[in-house]
Subunit: 422 residues, 2 copies
């Protein structure tokens, strides 16, 4: 049985609660929560001229724009290395199919990697992330885990890294990316680098594994996060240059042609424009980056007040607190697992989050993923104001949401006395 993706499921549950009149503070879903950049919707006006299927990998214009986009970011790329898809999710699935072999994942990691591997009948090997940052396995544990997995009959083929990371909202340091790539190379693994949050690094850039394992690293990304276009479903991949990369591009094109044909042509026109980095798009992403950094930092402060462990946010709009230090106080409230913690936050305080178990962690881990981007507002106007405000945390709807979150966390984690169950 394939359950609905945990992230999409919590989003639907929250919408249903809201429609039933409940006031829910939604921290459960990774929607970027900002308006659409200027000039993009207008590109759909010519959609009636774009009703043909077009090439599987994308139009020449879109592929050239994506190649230029990577090249301007220091990664020299030809259009022939690009393939578009309706989101980066189908690309990740097709890459696991095309690369072959079992799948090695950081733990925690995004909910769909393991589910996709299961759909393809592949084994999953998970390796804890280091204390510094998520999205990559701890190098020492990776080496051990690979040997153990092979000894048990697994055939690891692909290592998926998330740079910058979901769920931890952090950026792996260059030296750890390098160490992990060296191990991947020794074991003959291909690296799939999910970089959909890379544009949203709060400060500076992200070190892609391509830097260390150029010929065996595929990058996936898209416009869902940087441009808040999740509902437009625009993803693309960059396969490596070299003979392995060319074979993979052919195989990936084959899989794409059998599963989804092509990205909708009007959306390719949007991509061709946005990936040229026009100034208004660049400015929009910069504003979103500032907003994400500011609100994630505010929530981080409130989390640390409770005594929870939480890596400082470095990219995107996620935080991944570990309430292990609050275990006694939580136990006094009948909470012993991450799921119970998420349930208590939702049922007692109307705050939606996801437990660490959705990201592959043990049920007993008292970890949660908080997506802070849905605090920006519930109307297009509120989101626009959040994007343009110099102090978004002071906007009344954001300020009151932050207070509500702080109160709820305090209520669940203070040691003073066991609270009555509401």
């Amino acid at each position: 049985m394939t359950s609905p993706s945990a992230t999409l499921a919590v989003d639907e549950a929250v919408q249903a609660l809201r429609e039933a009149g409940h006031d829910v503070l939604h921290l459960g879903f990774g929607e970027a929560g900002v308006p659409v950049a200027p000039g993009l919707t207008e590109l759909l006006a010519d959609a009636h001229l774009r009703n043909g299927y077009g090439p599987v990998a994308g139009s020449p214009q879109a592929r050239a724009a994506a190649a230029g986009w990577f090249t301007r970011r220091g990664l020299s790329t030809e259009p022939g290395q690009i393939l578009f898809a309706p989101g980066s999710k189908p690309l990740l699935f097709a890459l696991l199919a095309a690369i072959g072999g079992d799948v090695v994942l950081p733990r925690p990691s995004w909910v769909s990697y393991a589910a996709q591997a299961a759909l393809l009948g592949r084994r999953v090997v998970t390796v804890p992330v280091p204390a510094e940052a998520g999205g990559i396995p701890d190098p020492d544990l990776l080496e051990q885990a690979l040997r153990g997995a092979v000894a048990e009959g697994a055939r690891p083929g692909a290592l998926v890294l998330t740079v910058a990371d979901n769920p931890t909202g952090t950026i792996a340091p260059a030296e750890q990316v390098e160490a992990v790539c060296a191990i991947a190379e020794r074991h003959g693994l291909a690296v799939v680098s999910d970089e959909i949050y890379a544009e949203l690094s709060h400060r500076g850039t992200v070190t892609s594994p391509v830097r260390y394992l150029a010929e065996r690293t595929v990058v996936t990304t898209g416009l869902s996060k940087s441009l808040a276009l999740g509902g437009w479903r625009i993803g693309f991949a960059r396969t490596p240059s070299g003979s392995w990369g060319r074979r993979l591009q052919r195989e990936l094109t084959g899989v794409a042609s059998e599963i989804w044909s092509s990205l909708a042509a009007p959306m390719q026109a949007v991509a061709a424009h946005a990936l040229d980095d026009p100034p208004e798009v660049t400015a929009h992403i910069a504003a979103a980056r500032r907003l994400h950094a500011r609100i994630a930092a505010e929530v981080h402060t409130r989390l640390r007040t409770t005594g929870a462990l939480c890596r400082p946010p470095g990219a995107g709009f996620y935080l991944y607190p570990d309430f292990g230090p609050n275990r006694a106080a939580l136990r006094a409230r009948g909470i012993t697992t991450g799921t119970e913690l998420a349930t208590a936050l939702l049922e007692r305080h109307g705050i939606a989050t996801l437990p660490g178990s959705a990201f592959g962690e043990a049920g007993t881990a008292l970890t949660l993923r908080l997506a802070t981007s849905l605090l920006y507002g519930t109307t297009p106007q509120q989101r626009h104001m959040a994007l343009t405000s110099p102090e978004p945390q002071d906007l009344p709807w954001i300020s009151s949401a932050l207070t509500r979150l702080g109160t709820a966390l305090g209520d669940l984690t203070t040691d003073r006395h066991a609270r009555p169950q509401s």
Copy 2:
């Protein structure tokens, strides 16, 4: 190795030949070849308000519209039975994943069913279609094939039917659909009924397997063919009512959430509108249906002149001639397989088609699939004139293409003498 889908590959090859200055008559690709219906592009103007992911299965509006669409066609349907996707191709893939088991296909059948089954590691059992029509297996041969497959260790789970059919352009008679459904029921198979061409029946309606196996038949369809919107990627499925259908809907939603998340929200708005059957959309489909019927009949006449066997076209814009009766004449020209025949047509006459082997037939079969819809014109203006002309076959570009096709077929198949190789 997953080769690119044969249909998409020939389309890209033809585009490349044309860009190199060659004049190619394109009968290789199933693009509907008519303009976009009035009023649809305008629906994309509000796309900036639709940047959220939304529910996996589709918006309430789109699901309600699709349920009404089925209900008005005699198939009572609730919105909860509907799931949207970026095309019906990913739906078919997800259904094979969700239903489980090996896959039973008519032979010939659409290129991607078998490829999708292979990606999922499933066996494929193919069963020849009867002389009357394609899209369904011959009932007697189906019974035999199932017994044989099970004896060899296969576990048939899904039977895919194509009603109306691609590649044969025909509609299975009701009594054969009934006979096939009875066998499917006896063997515990689920039926996946690909009905994407059903709206384009030239005369009257199509008998869906739902009529005979209501609780175990899933219908897939979309707007790519009826509304010529292949490049907008809008597909949807109807799962059965009843407990099996509800379980399948949940499982399908789970698979969808892990592979593609949701159909692009702006495209859901298009679907919600078009599936309400507004008069201008209904009129547009009726005009396309007339055009497809007329041109397919014209090509059929020219095929029959050569002595080839060819079922009369009944739906959509495909013909599937069998040049078996011309085997001697073809052999005199060095042509002994369907692929050699398609190659000769392309290289000697600039006419693109697909050989029957792309649809699962033996290489020695001298069958071709001809898509007649790309004869309508190469510019939006030509296609509009084709759609609105009372006698489209007399439009100069269509008339000359028909003449060119007739001449090429005559040139390859006449018995009088072996032609010199050009």
